[in-house]
Amino acid sequence: MVEDIVIETKGLRKTFISKGKGGKKEVEAVKGIDLAVKKGEIFGFLGPNGAGKSTTQKMLFTLLCPTGGEAKILGYSLEEQQEQIRQNVGCVSQAGGADLASTGLENLVLQAQLYGLDLSTSKKYASEFIERLQMSSFIERPASSYSGGQKRRLDVALGMIHHPQLLLLDEPTTGLDPQSRVYLWEEIKKLKAQGITIFLTTQYMDEADKLCDTISIIDNGEIIVTGTPAELKSNVGGDIVEFTFQSEEIVRNAEALLTDRIDVEKIQTKNNSLHLYTRNGGNILPELLRLFDAKKIEVQTITSSRPSLDDVFLKYTGRSLREDERK
């Protein structure tokens, strides 16, 4: 194993047995994934709900035994050295897990003690994070009274209290207001500047785009693509033009008209809209409009854009990342 790799998985697999009406059924939640997270980077692990993202995260958290494959975290075997992994990795789950009936301070001190630190060191570490994450104004109140952003800061401090070199963050900004999101992004960047490696699970493309050095996208239990945000976006190609039409029938007509053109790389349709991937959106647009006009196809709106990570996801999966939630 290369020394610079802090998380390495090979063919990591998880199968669940679900007992349904038709007897026992095997569900392959994670179908053998390879990951390589380099020391000091922010690694984004992206995917829609139910893609196998949380299952993978749980395996890395040592909360779920893999069905197959290997994984090494900080050089420790996930199968045999869970104690060492727990001692050296910081984990922040989506729920956070702060004890709401206790104050933030009590939470932090207990957490440090659970990592084997004595009381005075625990208090010292707690006050260090209270200052660093600006929590002093509320830290002595019960955590049940915290705002979403305040609680999330406490969650992150709980995961960091023992100064791990690797931090696993599970959807850290889900449910936060925009201001708190930006604040947390800044904090994550600061951690990176201190040399801490961060494995970040997220379903927000903008978050991955702003923060991550490397991104892996998981869908249906498989990694579909890995690369830097820039690489992934350049894979999508030049421009994306999105047309919307009155009805799905018109979308189909328009699609039929465009399929055979050589300057169109890929077409995807969804409901009343049609996405067109092309090398040169500027030139092709006027021509397409004339073509639609001639065939009496009425275009409602046109948007042309440079590719975003959302488009990356759409290109590789044929779906948008957060489709389920929009429904």
């Binding site: 958290f61 040592t62 909360l63 779920l64 035994c65 104690e83 727990r86 001692q87 984990c91 789950s93 989506q94 729920a95 956070g96 897990g97 702060a98 004890d99 709401l100 009936a101 206790s102 009590e106 207990l110 957490q111 003690q113 659970l114 990592y115 084997g116 709980l158």
Partner: protein
Amino acid sequence: MSKMLHDTRLMFIRNMQHTIRNPVFIFASMFQPLLYLLLFMPLLNGLGGVPGLPAGKTVDVFIPGLLVMQALFGTAFVGFSLIDDIRTGVIERFLVTPVKRPAILLGRILRDAVILLLQCILITLVAIPFGLSVNGGGFLLALLLYALIGVTMASVSYGFALIYKIEDPLAPTLNTITLPVSLLSGIILPLVLAPLWLQDVGNFNPFYYAVNAARALFAGNFQNVAIAEGFVIVGALAILLFLWGLRSLEKMAS
């Protein structure tokens, strides 16, 4: 081993803090046995003289059993607090730290046992003006027996809480266990009054032996074989069910 003690101590303190912050619940769960003492025991006094209830000594027979009932019902529902901790992710957070797994449960169970003993002492004190006579050494040993019953019931409660992870099925499950177990232990009325078949069924109830042992201890009959029987049976049950609860916890992380 020292890490186990260290972690158990931390978990015990954390849980105790929560209980002390809401002391109302300590007293709320004493309400039921106090009602039995005030509103049911007078009825029993009128029965004095039937087999198993010597005239004028009903209180001495009733109180040791009533405390077994408190041990059963007072700790049976502790699992609800664990479900809260599962839902808010607290248990998962503990599980990703190097904390010893058994300590997570032991810290809670020891808290429950301490609270239970406090309740038992208070109820006994209240019963003394009603004519209760109790052997001092026997009472201390009886407290140990009650603690073991508490450990047993708390383990059952936590075990199911860890399996269900939601409240709805927990209360019916626990009621289904505690009610027959307490009816068949001769707490309210001595089992010698029961028809033979009912006595036979009662013989399979571990808590029946606990009630007999507690009564012998209160009376100071240390030669009575029921005492050893009670400790062995309830002790074994406490260990078994604690291990079962622990397995449920470990399954959460597998």
